[in-house]
Symmetry: D2
Subunit: 103 residues, 4 copies
């Protein structure tokens, strides 16, 4: 499927390439596996501290995916909005999402 | 299975009850579903900001599970260690895990 | 003093107005006072938890100043860089500073 | 002044030694100086990114003071509460303060 032909895409969005999608999905599948791993640790009554270290590793991995998306978003979508005169709204959105992330 | 009969459990660990395990697994299964949801959003070329908000929601959910585990750990395992004279090591561990989490 | 006449200003920088400077200084002076307040609490042997709550309030206040600066920076300096074709460098810088902040 | 003679101290509190107080005050005075340094940077119209890096350094320094206080608090005051049968309340308090910090 060619994502560029998809008419349902948000006009603010510069579509991800197949390579970009593949790379993000790979990381998310690994994170999904880590979450299942924690379930197994909890069921096996593994020591709380080991479970917690694993949860904080998942958080770190998720944050890394988030930062990559944020970087790409700023580089592509925010730049586009600034060029097209919709910068104000785009920067408000960016600040909102950064605020959410730093919580 | 009765977790209290499990001989492989870390001696520092007060085993989780079936209810505790069930409640944590339920939350982790929901988080696993959220991670799969984000994969779908990425494949569907959904707007970066919406994906990012969803990722920060997963982080928040994971942190909540982490806090509950941490609270239980302090209440049960750290208290036990303090009673048995192993408090020093237990508190070092606790501080280490809090540091990891706040990263 | 008119900051626009200042020749030592970084060319990437859109100078702050007198009003902007005044508003930031006001907040920073309050934060400075809070830091002195914590010193007094420590000297008076006030309860650790109360001191810690106060420290986390200072962190929150600092983050608020940081967010305002970040917002202004994105709105003014990053936009300018994007208009002048230096967007790549400016966005790298922005991501770096966001990463620092979320640590 | 001997802090152990101070009758206004919270009974939950194990008083800080003179050395502990001195070491914390030293760090807080340095942080106070950093906050003043940021005021100067803002007045001098220094580049936003440089100001932001400096603010995140102050946050890191404050967090370090906070962690040290938290560690000491757990080691001394929480342990004391657990020994004296007031562990429940003390752990609730500890979790509350950790939650505040991780915001």
């Amino acid at each position: 499927m060619n994502h560029c032909e998809d008419n349902n895409i948000d006009p603010k969005m510069i579509p991800r390439t197949e390579e970009e999608i593949e790379s993000i999905i790979k990381r998310l599948k690994r994170i999904e596996g880590q979450v299942r791993g924690v379930q197994k640790m909890v069921e096996d009554n593994r020591y709380c501290v080991d479970v917690l270290i694993q949860i904080s590793a998942i958080n770190a991995a998720l944050n890394k995916v988030g930062f990559n998306l944020l970087e790409r978003h700023t580089k592509h979508c925010v730049s586009k909005a600034l060029r097209e005169g919709n910068g104000e709204e785009s920067i408000q959105e960016l600040m909102h999402v950064i605020k959410q992330f730093s919580k």
